[in-house]
């Protein structure tokens, strides 16, 4: 598998909503390459006939009745918010 480039690292950081410093971008390019090299070991195995496992136990979709239940008071919900106004979370303007 091809190595991950500095440019790809910056692309991935953007997808992950991380702002990397110059040093971090360099560091993670090196680290991710080392880790992906290590992960390439999996290619020694032929898995073409193997089903993927997402969960080890056989829990299926769990459904429940859609009924009203008491929820947290709004003051509690907003208690940990960095900023709020009129019972809503407040963020910088999305549109100009």
């Amino acid at each position: 598998m091809s190595a991950i480039t500095r440019k790809e690292v910056e692309h991935v950081a953007n997808l992950a909503r991380l702002q990397l410093t110059e040093e971090e971008a360099e560091r993670y390019t090196k680290d991710l390459n080392a880790i992906l090299d290590f992960a390439a070991k999996l290619n020694e195995l032929d898995t073409s006939q193997v089903q993927p496992t997402s969960h080890a136990t056989d829990v299926k979709n769990v459904m429940r009745e859609d009924v009203n239940r008491p929820s947290l008071p709004i003051a509690e919900v907003l208690k940990n918010a960095p900023d709020h106004e009129d019972d809503q979370f407040k963020v910088p303007a999305v549109f100009e």
């Binding site: 690292v9 997808l15 909503r17 195995l45 898995t47 997402s54 969960h55 910088p92």
Partner: protein, 489 residues
């Protein structure tokens, strides 16, 4: 002897006889933290006021003659990724340094309902990512047996605090070995239950298909009590298993006659330190003398478990940690002009280097064009590892091998090499990939004086056998009775 070395039945007799109060127990816990935790830094937050108020209530319960819970009066420390109402919960991350939960997680609630008092929240690798506690966003915890060494991780605070007897028991969480490995490094017992046995509601998610809460204790009996109290189906966790919870205490019979033990050659040979191997072989001899039999078996896909685990766990983490956006809770960067910048700046300032590294790895493994090569491939290898276990369990009752390839390593020794650090997890991650129950019990000490852990792995939902074998072994050898010299009593 420290109060917390006593058996639960002794504590309860003393409480009933009014020779002891819950307040005494909580005060002993707080005093131990205040006097001794500076040496090991296992505690992030002590709720002295809340714990004493809770203790007084429990003392009144006894006076009124009300029925007492299973864990009545026992002071506990919880890993700081378990949500506790009114007690700051940080996951040892700067991002959550101000997070004050408005609800209790199911496990926090269950231990309280069983009469236990939550005294403190314990240090860990940030968001449970790490095996040394060096990734705590606040300060590293140190090994109580030798403070130049790591306590293991990510539940390093929980294991170190237990070795120091700050509490009667502690709780940790285990995604790739995070209960068992620090328990082995700190000379205490650590149990990872079957995936789904204990509710994850209120456990801040790292890798949802792998995470599981479990007890860290001074002996196996205590682990059985705590598991009894926290196990069970929970409507708030759709992955919690709707299966019967057996009486774990009654499984502690001391009888292992006829037990069939499989020992994977991949986890006892090359790569395992010779002192660790010798201690585990001695444990096998001990179990043989008690009437068990063992044979060497093979888990041919063992060498693929660590890379598969890191791809899967990091992928799940990258998705789970998307919720830390600086909008609803946590720390918000104050230098952002727009929403995207607010996300980026808050996350970049709040997360430490290992958390960022894993988010990056996971995002990459899930990204378009790489999903099949990394994420799906790792899921397929997960299937092969599960098959390795199934093949062995067709003929054996338990699988036994070291908890870790070596004893605890020095602080700083592996921080610069993530792959080397990840390889430390070879003996623990296969169990998480297969969702099985496993325990680490002390099985001796290296010449350095550092403890060695023996791991016993069971079939899904067969914690009873795991506990029975661990208990029979432990009681016949007594390695668990040894404590670091500076720990009182």
């Amino acid at each position: 002897m420290s109060l917390f070395d006593k058996r639960l039945s002794e504590i309860h007799s003393a409480l009933r006889a009014k020779e002891l109060s819950v307040t005494d127990l909580v005060q002993a816990s707080v005093a131990s933290i205040k006097e001794h935790d500076d040496q090991i830094k296992s505690v992030l937050e002590v709720d002295e006021e809340g714990a004493l108020a809770h203790a007084r209530k429990l003392d009144e319960q006894l006076v009124k003659g009300e029925e007492l819970g299973l864990l009545y009066g026992l002071p506990a420390g919880l890993k700081d990724n378990m949500v506790t109402k009114g007690i700051r919960t940080t996951c040892a991350s700067k991002f959550l340094s101000n997070y004050d939960p408005v609800y209790d997680g199911t496990v926090s609630q269950k231990v309280k309902e069983a009469g236990s008092v939550i005294v403190a929240k314990l240090n860990m690798d940030e968001f449970a990512m790490g095996g040394s506690n060096e990734n705590s966003g606040f300060f590293p915890t140190k090994n109580p047996w030798n403070t130049d060494y790591v306590p293991g991780g990510s539940s390093g605070g929980s294991a170190a605090a237990m070795a120091a007897r700050h509490f009667y028991y502690t709780l940790g969480s285990d995604t790739g070995g995070s209960i068992r490995q620090p328990a082995a490094f700190c000379g205490v017992v650590g149990l990872k239950p079957t995936y789904g046995r204990v509710s994850r509601f209120g456990l801040v998610a790292f890798a949802s298909s792998l995470d599981q809460i479990g007890p860290i204790t001074k002996n196996v009996e205590d682990a059985a009590y705590v598991l009894q109290a926290i196990a069970g189906h929970d409507a708030y966790d759709s992955t919690s298993a709707n299966v019967e919870v057996p009486d774990f205490l009654s499984s502690l019979t001391g009888d292992v006659k006829g037990l069939r033990i499989g020992v994977p050659k991949e986890l006892i040979g090359e790569g395992i330190d010779s002192e660790v191997r010798d201690a585990v072989l001695a444990a096998l001899k001990q179990l043989e003398s008690l009437g068990a039999t063992w044979s060497e078996v093979s888990m041919p896909h063992t060498e693929y478990a660590v890379p598969a685990y890191y791809l899967l766990a990091s992928s799940e983490a990258s998705s789970n940690l998307a919720r830390f956006d600086g909008v609803r809770y946590g720390v918000r960067a104050d230098n952002a002009d727009n929403l995207i910048e607010l996300y980026k700046e808050s996350r970049s300032q709040g997360f430490g280097p290992e958390v960022k590294r894993r988010i990056m790895l996971g995002t990459y493994a899930l990204s378009s064009g790489y999903y099949d090569a990394y994420y799906k491939k790792a899921q397929q290898v997960r299937t092969l590892i599960i098959q390795d276990f199934n093949n062995i369990f067709a003929d054996f009752d338990v699988i036994l091998h070291p908890t870790t390839p070596t004893t605890a390593f020095k602080i700083g020794e592996k921080v610069d090499d993530p792959v080397k650090m990840y390889l430390e997890d070879i003996c623990t991650v296969p169990v998480n990939l297969a969702g099985l129950p496993a325990i680490s019990v002390p099985c001796g000490f290296a010449k350095s004086g550092l403890p060695i852990g023996l791991q016993i792995v069971g079939k899904a939902f067969d914690e009873s056998t795991v506990l029975r074998v661990a208990h029979a072994y432990e009681q016949s050898v007594g390695h668990h009775l040894r404590k670091p010299e500076w720990v009182r009593g």
